[in-house]
């Protein structure tokens, strides 16, 4: 597998999972306020 494929997949996964975890954390942490 080429480096470009690895970089593209890694960046996509990090961006998507990072955003989802950040959003869910932010919602749940402020849920009771």
């Amino acid at each position: 597998m080429s480096w470009s494929a690895i970089i593209l997949v890694s960046v996509s996964w990090i961006a998507i999972l990072g955003t989802t975890i950040f959003c869910l954390y932010k919602i749940l942490s402020t849920h009771d306020e």
Partner: protein
Amino acid sequence: MSDLKKRSSWNNDLTMIIAVAGSAIGFGNLLRFPAVAVQNGGGAFMIPYFICILLLGLPMVWVEWGLGRFAGYHGHGTLPGALQVLDPQKKWLKYLGMFGLLTPFLIFVYYCYIGSWTLAYSVFSFFSPTYKEAFGCPDAMTQFFNDFLALPSNGCPLFSWAWFFLLITFILNFIILYFGIQKGIERLCKWVIPMLLILCVIMIGEIAYVNHIAGKPETQTYVNGFRWMWEPDFSALLRPQTWLAAAGQTFYTLSIGLGIILAYTSYLKKKDDLTLAGLTAASMNEVVEVIIGGSLLVPAIFMFFGHHSDVILKETGTFGLSFVSMPLIIGEMPFPQFFSLIWFLILFTAGLTSTISLLQPLITFMEDEFSWSKKRCIWVLGIFSFICVQVVYLFFHKGVVDELDKIAGTLFIIITALIQIVFLLYCKKINFIWEEIHHGAKLILPKIFKPVIMLVCPIMMSTILLSWIYDEGMAFLTMSSVDPEKRPYVLMTRFMIIGLFIILGITIHFTWRNKKQNIYHGHHIEKE
């Protein structure tokens, strides 16, 4: 505002986010995205796709959430009312909102039929000997699928399994809707995330099992499947079609231009967070699409079919992938009947959350504008849509579904989204919506998104629309790309859509006229 009836609201942010994500997560995420990505540069497709999500998808999601909540304050949850409250002086604006009602309804009438196939296959998993026998043979599986969809050659066309499951699915949609956003949709959508986790486990199990099938070529490994999906072809970035495909997939996946977001968000309160909720719903959607669809499902298909996967993804399309290829892969696993049941139940649930959402704009419209009870709205819409669904069932093989998908699923969603953004600009309400989006927001958007909403979104959407007109406009008008045998049916579909526009236009006209008269009489009686 005193004459407005009290609107119901969501129990909490999270259930509403799950409902919006559930409406957006459907067959398109799991099956359409990998096919589009493989055809448009593999891993390189992620570059235009992320750019489109960032510059078109997310800004439009936030605009729809803001517009929906703003319209909700004024007692409207659909596009005709939302456009009218943008500028009450311009009476014609509300008629443009017809797109926001018809688009989801037209998609519902064929999506409901496709969803019913997944329910049928769930049942066939255990109760159809022919289906079980077809597990090992691609030709037999294709034949089984074609036989299932064929109308009975003698006797009443309604006495078929396809019609029976359509009826069950149709009734199920309306039963869930009957319980309303407080119960039905929330409860159903709470199942979406556990179901998707089960899907992940099945996919991983499938990959591990298929890896050990005897006689399988050594090249058909998970890593090769992953490479086949993600190896970038950067030359694809120079083709305009790649960018258009990325923009189209963005619309499709985030449910932009369907009127669903407007209907759901019109039930939000002023203190609710729009920016974070919109971003969460979009990112949950991407998890399903890129991680489950692109990184688990497609490599699993490759491990089974090898380089024939190319043909399967590009030529058989979503239907072939769901109802022929996947049962064949599942057939190779231990307990195939059980896994077939789970696979089709997951697809059915994903489809059901989408079809219920597609009906929501018209229900909301009738509740808001006619002040009808939910029960009455569901009965009226149920009877009307039942007739339309029969047309789809009877003329499925005559190109009716393809035509509805082309008109509503491709053209109208872009027009609906474009109408929203253009008339926000025309009515000089961009600043207003920007502030509305930020009411109660825990996440403040970077200011760069404001010019993106004002300039980039309308330019990108106009480009998509114009390129569609340039590429397919003439062929669409002359029906040159349609099989001559199917042309009368395609024409019938178009007349049906025009008829629905006329009915809806007249309804909107008289509804607003009656409202005006009621307000006038109300003032008159008060004076007396």
